[in-house]
Symmetry: C2
DNA sequence: CAAAAAAATTAAGCTGGTTTAAGAAAAAGT
DNA sequence: ACTTTTTCTTAAACCAGCTTAATTTTTTTG
């Protein structure tokens, strides 16, 4: 089992050796190359994914036929299309690696079985989800509070690791900007 | 204890009479008049709130000194500033009733004690939080996918109950539009 | 290393939605 | 019923950020 994953869970709940062993039964590690898809539009999102190493992006294709990124996931982040995952509905999203990545995945049935055997994991997931809600409250606030220029600068200073690892046009897409406008902002702000 | 609340929990987990009685110990019902505040900017958000009857809004004051609404909560919704609640940090939000409302509140200490005594409630909250994450994924998608006009029309057709109950300028604020523009849209689309 | 593909830049013109300001209509309080 | 407050409307001027299109730079691949 991946030590980073254990460490992450252990930040929120107590974990004994037996629990770790049981967890191991349900969780499936996969290594992906750069630009591989974990989910494509039209498929049902059968799993939730934990990033051990690497980077994922989630996006959809908008009416103008361009990719609109809605989320990134770096190390120790969970990602999924939760609507598709919970209700078994075809997803409108793609989930793809931005770079070579080591992923842990757990599908809906395994998750239910795991939670039945290890109910203390409900608490871990509850806290993770609660933090995700808090994060999206913050994100919505920034969207309304900041101009696009301020939003871009705020993102770059808050998450410098992204600027290093992720192409500029993907950051533009995530922030709802055109690559051309980001280019202009960079010229102005450097 | 409020039957709507019990019914809501019962949608996600099994509830026996004893559990309900224990729950009752930790949960505090309060009735608010129209326009009363449950939280003000600068205060720590000490509780999470469940709307039994009525309507709440959450907003912050932006740089132009106008109220920016980020969330509503109608019957059977939970609302809180989760960052403030989890980390005991002063909130930047206000939470206020839009109309006379019956609210159940549970503060952080009571929540922890309740979850210790009723660990099965972790599952309920995990599912609630997971659904909230799914909802915010959908919201972000709409923000990127739809023009402001489409966004307004989509909201009005998806949540007609809001249009009935909530003043138009509040819906405008929630959607990130000026009241003037909404007025124009209404003229155009009726 | 050369060729191709992917990513970033530049600049001019344009538009969806805001701002500003004034007035009208509806709702709430006394 | 009357006064005050809140909410909604109208219209013109304005601008942040987008579109389009061509070029350059960087990265990837054989």
């Amino acid at each position: 089992m991946h030590p980073n994953f254990i460490k992450h869970i252990n930040k929120y709940i107590e974990l004994d050796d037996n629990t770790i062993e049981v967890l191991n039964k349900y969780i499936k590690p996969i290594t992906y190359k750069k630009k591989e898809f974990l989910l494509k539009e039209g498929q049902i999102c059968r799993s939730i994914y934990f990033v051990v190493k690497g980077c994922l992006r989630m996006f959809f294709i908008n009416d103008k036929r361009t990719e609109q990124i809605t989320q990134f996931a770096l190390e120790n982040w969970w990602i999924s299309d939760f609507f598709s995952f919970m209700d078994n509905k075809p997803s409108e999203y793609f989930i793809q690696t931005v770079e070579k990545s080591e992923i842990l995945s757990i599908d809906a049935l395994s998750l239910e079985a795991m939670l039945k055997e290890l109910p203390q994991m409900e608490r871990y997931l509850r806290i993770i989800m609660q933090r995700a809600v808090a994060a999206s409250q913050l994100r919505i606030k920034y969207v309304h509070q900041l101009s696009k220029e301020e939003f871009y600068i705020h993102f770059c200073t808050s998450f410098p690791e992204f600027v290093q690892r992720v192409p500029q046009y993907m950051i533009a897409s995530y922030l709802g900007l055109t690559p051309e406008y980001v280019s202009e902002l960079r010229k102005k702000n450097l």
